[in-house]
Symmetry: C2
Subunit: 340 residues, 2 copies
């Protein structure tokens, strides 16, 4: 194996400080363009491989961000991470991603990994188990080390940090109201994301819209299922209950129910209308195309990075923590009736 030149040796050859070399290689604003070019040229010439760990310990800046998401196979999170990665890169930050698989213990381990990798900041969307058990010590541990955090999409009031979400209550309220306005009277709330903050808020928004209805409508009905038992549970439900509208709390429940009710012989939207969160790539290709609440996942990721970088650059306690709301849109397609 070829011997590597160290940062110190490189600094000596260039007759500048170690900090100058580090900053020049990291494109710091503190260093002139001329010096940057000189340092980079010599680094290349001497085959210098930057030791990011050593750099980090010296400069206390790693120019890397950690991301913890609950589930990589959920397109919403994949798209949010896509937005995060792009925005971080624009700002010359690297992104490392870890997946909790909805488990508290995995989330704790991801936090420990990042805490010891000297990241400059952390973006987290909480695991359902974490939200259900309301155990946040590992998140507080990050704050004890004064490392900035942004919670996105799945957040909690119990942590005082920057947050970014949609208005889950209002989005579900508006979608339910939309169904009622189109003449639906028996709307069921269907979810495969139980035990998450977003699902709880969406349930409340749906219930409030039914309560506020000026015309008489059916009672609130929540059907909380898994990817595996959705089909059997929804079928059982339809055998006994009258349903003319489905609000899917997540893309899978909306798309799968749209598919199932048609297989069972219901006309969509003639007999049953379907609306779903989150307007991913599935939505466009269903028949009929799905009316959806767009959560603008990539934009949420982008904004989350902007908030985090501002906190990193201006200091941990620079200003009060903010909770940014990304506006949603209801995108009307063919799975809901077009006339009121």
């Amino acid at each position: 194996m070829e011997k590597k030149v160290t940062l110190k040796e490189l600094a000596k050859v260039l007759n500048v400080s170690v900090a100058t070399v580090s900053k020049a290689l990291n494109d710091s604003y503190d260093i002139s363009e001329e010096t940057k070019i000189r340092v980079k040229k010599k680094a290349k010439e001497l085959n210098y491989v930057p030791n990011i760990i050593a750099q980090s310990l010296k400069l206390k800046k790693s120019f890397s961000l950690g991301v913890i998401i609950p589930n990589i196979t959920d397109e919403f999170f994949a798209r949010a991470v896509h937005g995060i990665t792009k925005e971080a890169k624009e700002n010359k930050y690297k992104t490392l991603i870890s997946i909790s698989n909805e488990e508290l213990q995995s989330e704790r381990e991801s936090v420990d990994t990042f805490l010891n990798s000297n990241i400059d900041g952390l973006l987290i969307s909480l695991a359902s188990e974490t939200q259900m058990k309301k155990q946040y010590e590992h998140i507080k541990k990050i704050q004890d080390q004064e490392i900035p955090i942004v919670l996105f999409d799945r957040v909690t009031d119990e942590i005082n940090c920057d947050k970014i979400t949609i208005d889950d209550f209002k989005s579900a309220y508006d979608a339910t109201y939309f169904l009622l306005r189109k003449g639906c009277k028996n709307v069921v709330f269907l979810s495969t994301i139980s035990n998450t903050s977003v699902c709880e808020l969406r349930k409340k928004g749906y219930a409030q819209a039914l309560k506020d209805s000026k015309i008489k409508v059916g009672a609130t009905r929540f059907l909380e299922v898994t990817h595996e038992n959705l089909e059997i549970e929804l079928k059982k439900f339809l055998d006994h209950e009258e349903v003319d509208g489905i609000l899917g709390a997540d893309e899978h429940s909306a798309v799968a129910s749209l598919h199932l009710v048609q297989n069972l012989g219901y006309k969509v939207p003639g007999q049953i209308s379907v609306i779903g969160f989150t307007n991913g790539s599935l939505t466009k290709f269903t028949v009929p195309s799905l009316t959806a609440i767009s959560q603008h996942s990539e934009l949420m990721g982008k904004n989350a990075v902007q908030i985090l970088l501002s906190r990193i650059q201006n200091g941990y306690l620079d200003k009060e923590m903010q909770h940014k709301i990304v506006q949603t849109n209801l995108i009307q397609r063919k799975s809901t009736r077009s006339k009121s």
Copy 2:
């Protein structure tokens, strides 16, 4: 901020070596269960936060794997990473993921990040730009440091390392043959993943099947597009060419073309049959449901980790590098004719 106990201080209190404490906290097989319990109890008592960097430098084992994928919004890669993460966790390894966004330079930076984070091994699916430019110095740099690599799905003959793929040539050959057997004569190859090794092999498989056909069929026709211009390009193509079969090299091209040709008034499968790689969640919910080549992405991720861990545990040069092939299946649904 609360002062952290160091590994050294913890070892002193316990009257054992630093290595013993490290190994105990890492659940090493070298350490007895009794010692592990004693060490972990004391670590918790004294509020010890493991410094993974320091541990790594001492033990040369970080129990973490790096993963570089070209695109997180492609469900194939999301599912492969899901399989990777699960299998790594089963084996008490952490997984950190980085995304190249199909760019060579980003892939190089991801490699540098991982090289300096003391990972035990790396799983990489190459960016399209890397494959197009055939520049692999950054991959060779990993090998210079004797860090095991497994290339998965998108691989190259120019790197001697463990690899895992499907048989892309044969899978495309079989899918094309299937269309011909069902009576298609004018099959077009449609792709949004140009410049990747998998696309090149699938093109060859498709072309060979046409060449081998005993009945007279149309010439090979490749339509290589982007997500953005697929609709306009395919429409233009259909205006001038006779097409009764589409082989989609990726899920997006298959699902989008299935949707488009029906919007243009063609009957599927009556007038045009459609087959696509990779059997993701889109496939099941299209109308008609899509006949697909299942690449078993999660299984590929799982097997990739097994190969990597075997290499890590048995040493870098333990045995010859292997190229494992994951078998594909053709899953016949309703987008292709059922009779020959």
